[in-house]
Symmetry: C2
Subunit: 326 residues, 2 copies
């Protein structure tokens, strides 16, 4: 009989929950807005309610565990969320609380690590023992698999590739440092560049402003992608700079880590998939020849489901191993 696990993707704006089977296939899923994220108890109860609705609906599936991915810093053994900036959580005992309410064993991981695990085991990285995932969304996150093992780092922070410095005198990043990869190529940086350019020159920014209904603050990644498709000069020049930064950042990663596969995902990559070919060509041109001999640069395969699938499978694998060793 197959085992099943619950996967939970907890973000600042929405909660997604899914029942996943041991082959990484989603049986059913549900989502709801996060609401007031700061109220940890309310968020945890909301998650538990959503999970119970799903498990009630699928009584025949044997759910043995639940896994959650959260945008923040997680203490690996305790499952305590040390800090989640989007939700303004500090030291929330997420594992203990959720496990109690669900009456299931629970694993808690960083959301990017969960998504990377999903891509590794069931997506673009299947069967690969040395890979790096780079997710370019609002920010840039990543994960590293080396010699068949997830790289956690001593402080459980390994894979924070969005905060690799690629322009030491570059723009200030949200982290306080300068010239981080995500401060040049993350979604928030692209929007910043577009808004600044439009404010500096309303003529060249005409189309972007129009697509944003005349509100500079509404110039989003989607707006820029639309203008780009129409061949708009300003959008093209902004994205040329972003593409250059993406090549520099991924080249840096390939040189330092030496993966077999570089997997590229996240909202920006999904919205502008032509970037992937550009990055592949750039990395193969600029990275060390020895490091790119048989490097594959590929798009992520699980799209916005990588998080729930990965979180579910991390917990399923973890608790199946524990049960097996009993």
């Amino acid at each position: 009989m197959k085992n099943y696990a619950i996967g939970i993707d907890l973000g600042g704006t929405k909660i997604e929950v899914a029942i996943v089977d041991s082959d990484g296939q989603i049986v059913d899923s549900a989502r709801t807005p996060t609401g007031n994220g700061r109220d940890a108890d309310a968020v945890i109860s909301k998650i538990a309610g959503l999970v119970k609705q799903l498990t009630e609906k699928h009584k025949d599936e044997k759910v043995i565990a639940a896994g959650i991915g959260i945008a923040g810093q997680v203490e690996s053994n305790s499952g305590i969320v040390k800090y989640a900036p989007n939700l303004e959580w500090h030291n929330v005992k997420l594992c203990e609380e959720l496990s109690g309410q669900l009456n299931l064993p629970v694993t808690v991981n960083n959301d990017v690590k969960a998504a990377m695990y999903g891509e590794w085991k069931f997506g673009a990285g299947k069967g690969c023992s040395d890979l790096v995932c780079v997710f370019v969304g609002t920010g840039i996150g990543g994960g590293i698999v080396s010699n068949g093992e997830i790289m956690h780092g001593y402080h459980n922070t390994a894979g924070e590739v969005g905060h690799m410095t690629i322009d030491l005198h570059g723009p200030v990043c949200h982290c306080g440092n300068r010239g981080c990869f995500e401060a040049l190529a993350g979604g928030w940086a692209i929007e910043r560049d577009a808004r600044e350019a439009v404010q500096a020159n309303k003529d060249s920014g005409n189309l972007l402003l129009e697509l944003a209904n005349g509100d500079v603050e509404k110039i989003s990644g989607e707006v820029i992608a639309t203008a780009l498709k129409e061949g708009n000069a300003l959008a093209t020049s902004i994205m040329d700079k972003v593409a250059e930064a993406l090549v520099a950042g991924t080249t840096s990663i390939v040189n330092a880590i030496g993966p077999q596969k570089l997997i590229l995902g996240g909202g920006i990559m999904e919205g502008m998939p032509q970037l992937i070919k550009h990055i592949e060509e750039g990395v193969k041109k600029f990275a060390l020849k020895a490091a790119t001999a048989s490097l594959e640069v590929v798009p992520a395969a699980l799209h916005n489901k990588a998080g729930v699938i990965g979180a579910a499978m991390m917990s399923l694998t973890h608790f199946e191993k524990i049960n097996h060793n009993k």
Copy 2:
């Protein structure tokens, strides 16, 4: 009875050979100029001769293996040197040749990886399971230990931290890319900056030129270090920029890899040890707080012996394991 191994450090200018005991202690060592490096047969015979002199002298020590570290790209299983730029070697069967001449089993590794192994097992990284070594010499090399294992990468190139991009519009690197860590903070880049500054302004470059006996091409790291000690303004301004680049590069490494220890070695660090404190303060200021919670930034402990000790111990460990499994 103790086992011993031969460690060999093969560089572009000199060959160093040592007998090392299983505690990582050097019993005796010898060195000779590399001579015409391009003649691989001659270099290998020279190494074999030097090793035989040492083993003759220490007949009572049971030497069970030899390990060599070479500046270049090594195929891990075969011990073939794919490419060694300093020696202009391509596809040299170093393991096979040397093993035949020495009548000993031989391991071949990249020299930086060997030095990192030495520091990890017998130097500043003893007992640590997550560390990064950064060696700042003429270039910048490095090595990564993650979760108690050396990180090799799929192409055996992991740890090439000297070619992480830290200034995407920066100076051209020897590798062909722009703004690599070593193109801003490696010994060759420091000399380039000093020579350019002296040529641009002979007045401010007066002391540097004098210390180099009036020959711009002789402005070396030692010359700059001497001028720095005398409080020379140009040397200070050059090294301020280098220090800034060292902070950016190591911050990038700490964010991406998340080690417990950052070990700093190499000629530049040995010559200007005050840089280590500066890097520690910079990394703790600019890297992610979660990644530096208990990070230690420490100087390498084995100095220019890390290479021979590491190469010897990699072979000793490798062949003891094989013998044990027989």
